[in-house]
């Protein structure tokens, strides 16, 4: 399996008037061709910023990518995204890497037709003429399940429901047959039933196009249905990476356990309380020299306050950054 994206030690900071926000503190992960990686975390965990920084989509005064590399298998061979110029990134955005964002009412331009907004990606990356782009856009609309595509081509975003708009966004994302689709909380703003439809649609398209995907969410329920592997983030750091099964059956990081414990499950015992994790997320303005989860962790001990835990290998394709070895019941030895 070739790795289509290899991110090493990404560090992104925001220099604001209130101080330096350490949004991303050393994130590393790989993505295989055709694989779907879910990035899970709470608000402020840095999951969105991580992906947006890779393609220069964060506001660049205050924001700055300070360190790291991101090797992408582009059409022209392996390239480090973080070293590319803005023009080069523009070629990749939309063309080889497609995006789906969270809230389609604000993420689509309200005064342009949705057909136009799909077609412009096609004319930009594939050099199609207006008519060719239009025809392809109509086909795409049909593929994503929008009825009467010919008519709807000329409609405006406000004339669609939330679920329909998200389908349009998906159409835009897949229009140029990208190698990776990055979806940033695409179902968070939708009703549960619509969510399920969108997830279904995504799975179909993924199958048809054999595209790799990064699905950012805070909803572990969605993750179970869609991901091959999961990266859990906390306080701007990766805390656990594993395949879906491994994560749900054998979580190794106290935070992951907390997250899973907080999830209502159909197969749990009756009248079991939902356990929430005590405490609040860390203040990213303060640069941490220790594990960001230490405040809220049951198992925290001295070492947790002294060093930042690196990623330890628990198993083939399962890593966790925790000094405490849960299986053993005691501190980990390097």
């Amino acid at each position: 399996m070739t790795k289509i994206l290899q991110v090493k030690n990404l560090v992104t900071k925001f220099y604001t008037l209130d101080g330096v926000v350490n949004a991303v503190n050393g994130v590393s992960f790989d993505l295989d061709e055709g694989e779907t990686l879910a990035i899970v975390g709470e608000s402020g965990s840095g999951k969105s910023v991580t992906m947006m920084s890779l393609l220069g989509l964060i506001p660049m005064p205050p924001g700055k990518v300070e360190d790291g590399s991101a090797i992408f298998e582009s059409e022209d061979g392996p390239r480090n995204l973080l070293e590319m110029s803005v023009e080069e990134l523009r070629d990749i955005r939309g063309g080889q890497i497609g995006f789906i964002f969270q809230d389609p009412i604000s993420t689509l331009n309200p005064i342009l037709t949705i057909g136009d907004q799909i077609a412009e990606t096609l004319t930009r990356h594939k050099g199609l003429t207006q008519d060719e782009a239009r025809n392809q856009a109509i086909q795409l609309l049909e593929q994503v399940g929008i009825p009467d595509p010919e008519l709807r081509y000329k409609a405006y975003p406000f004339q669609f429901s939330g679920g329909m708009r998200q389908r349009v966004m998906i159409a835009i994302a897949v229009s140029c047959t990208p190698k990776i689709i990055i979806a940033d909380e695409p179902t968070t703003a939708l009703d549960v039933t619509v969510q399920a439809q969108i997830v279904e649609l995504f799975k179909q398209l993924r199958e048809a196009l054999d595209v790799a995907a990064i699905w950012i969410t805070h909803d572990l329920g969605v993750v179970a249905g869609i991901a091959d592997r999961v990266l859990v983030m906390y306080g701007g750091r990766p805390v656990e990476i594993a395949t879906v099964d491994e994560l749900y059956d054998n979580p190794q990081h106290p935070y992951t356990i907390g997250l899973l414990g907080a999830l209502p499950r159909l197969d749990s015992e009756e009248s079991k309380r939902l356990v929430s994790i005590k405490g609040t997320p860390p203040d990213l303005l303060i640069p941490l020299q220790h594990c960001p989860f230490a405040w809220r962790c049951e198992y925290a001990f001295d070492r947790c306050w002294e060093e930042i835990p690196p990623l330890y290998k628990v198993d083939e394709r399962h890593q966790t950054s925790c000094f405490y070895d849960l299986e053993k019941g005691g501190p980990r030895h390097d």
Partner: protein, 311 residues
């Protein structure tokens, strides 16, 4: 089960030392000041004008009313023929311009202040009722408001002033009434926003009673926009008074000097004795600038939604 102790840091210095030195505090304050320098300048200017108006007799020994025909039409002190006894020169009847400008500040400030108070009070009540009651009453009120606002304002102010005659009271009343719609519209907007956001429902369901709701929830939200608006409108009223005076519709010049009627008087002698019109105009500009800067700053400071990190 971990108890509370587990959540306290085991080592005190695991948190970055956030103790700031005096230099850091000074630097922070300096940045704060620089960022809001417009507001501070505005505030200072405004205070200068207010203090000048209040302490007029202290600042100038000249009376704004005394005519002195032999000393009429004198240029400012720094020009040929001028005298430091009349720093800004004198007008056609020999009255000292400097003192007239300073005393004129009193009128302008009064017009602005009372005009805004009347407009604000009227507008607040009307707007609040419209926004709160809603329905037909709201439509009717807003219809009236929009009528007044969509008309050429100046024209009607001038029209009314022409009808009612020249007095300070008339001027204040006119401005107070014609500007009320703006306050009404802003108030109504805010009231609607508060209604929609559900504050009131949650407060009621938490058991709060009416006086509490009004004072704790509604008024704090209204204060910000209204104060900002008041600052801008006060500046505008000073302009309008000047305009009315210019047309001879404000206080008559022999009754009391206003910047407006000084401009009108100066206009006649514009080409030969330009200073007569220059100084009141500069005074208006100075005051207006200050108030606009102040208003801008107030708007940024009082609107929590706009508080983003500005770079």
């Amino acid at each position: 089960m971990a108890d509370n102790e587990a959540f306290a840091p085991k080592t005190a210095d695991s948190l970055l030392d956030t103790e700031k030195t005096f230099k850091d505090k000074l630097a922070y304050f300096g940045r704060f000041l620089w960022r809001d320098k417009g507001g501070i300048i505005g505030l200072v200017v405004f205070l200068i004008v207010v203090l000048a108006a209040i302490f007029a007799p202290v600042i100038t020994s000249q009376s704004p009313f005394d005519q002195n025909l032999r000393a009429s039409k004198m240029p400012p002190a720094w020009q040929e023929g001028g005298d430091w006894e009349h720093p800004f020169g004198t007008d056609s009847l020999g009255k000292d311009i400097f003192s007239r400008v300073i005393y004129g500040a009193r009128v302008s400030l009064m017009v602005g202040l009372f005009g805004v108070l009347i407009a604000g009070a009227l507008g607040l009540i009307i707007g609040a009722i419209a926004g709160y009651v809603g329905g037909r009453l709201d439509a009717a009120i807003m219809g009236g408001v929009n009528l007044i606002l969509s008309l050429p304002y100046l024209l009607f102010v001038v029209f009314i002033a022409a009808v009612l005659g020249r007095s300070l009271l008339n001027v204040i009343l006119i401005f107070g009434i014609t500007d009320a719609p703006i306050f009404a519209r802003v108030t109504r907007g805010e009231v609607l926003r508060i209604r929609r956001s559900g504050y009131i429902e949650s407060a009621i369901s938490a058991g709060a009673r009416w006086p509490r709701i009004i004072f704790d929830h509604i008024i704090p939200n209204l204060i910000g926009p209204l104060i900002t608006l008041a600052t801008f409108e006060m500046s505008a009223m000073i302009f309008y008074e000047a305009g009315l005076g210019f047309l001879g519709l404000s206080v008559p010049p022999n009754e009391f000097p206003t910047w407006g009627n000084m401009l009108a008087a100066g206009r006649k002698y514009m080409t030969s004795y330009p200073w007569m019109a220059s100084f009141p105009g500069l005074a208006i500009m100075f005051t207006s600038l200050g108030m606009n800067l102040l208003g801008d700053w107030l708007r940024d400071v009082l609107d929590p939604r706009l508080r983003r990190s500005r770079k």
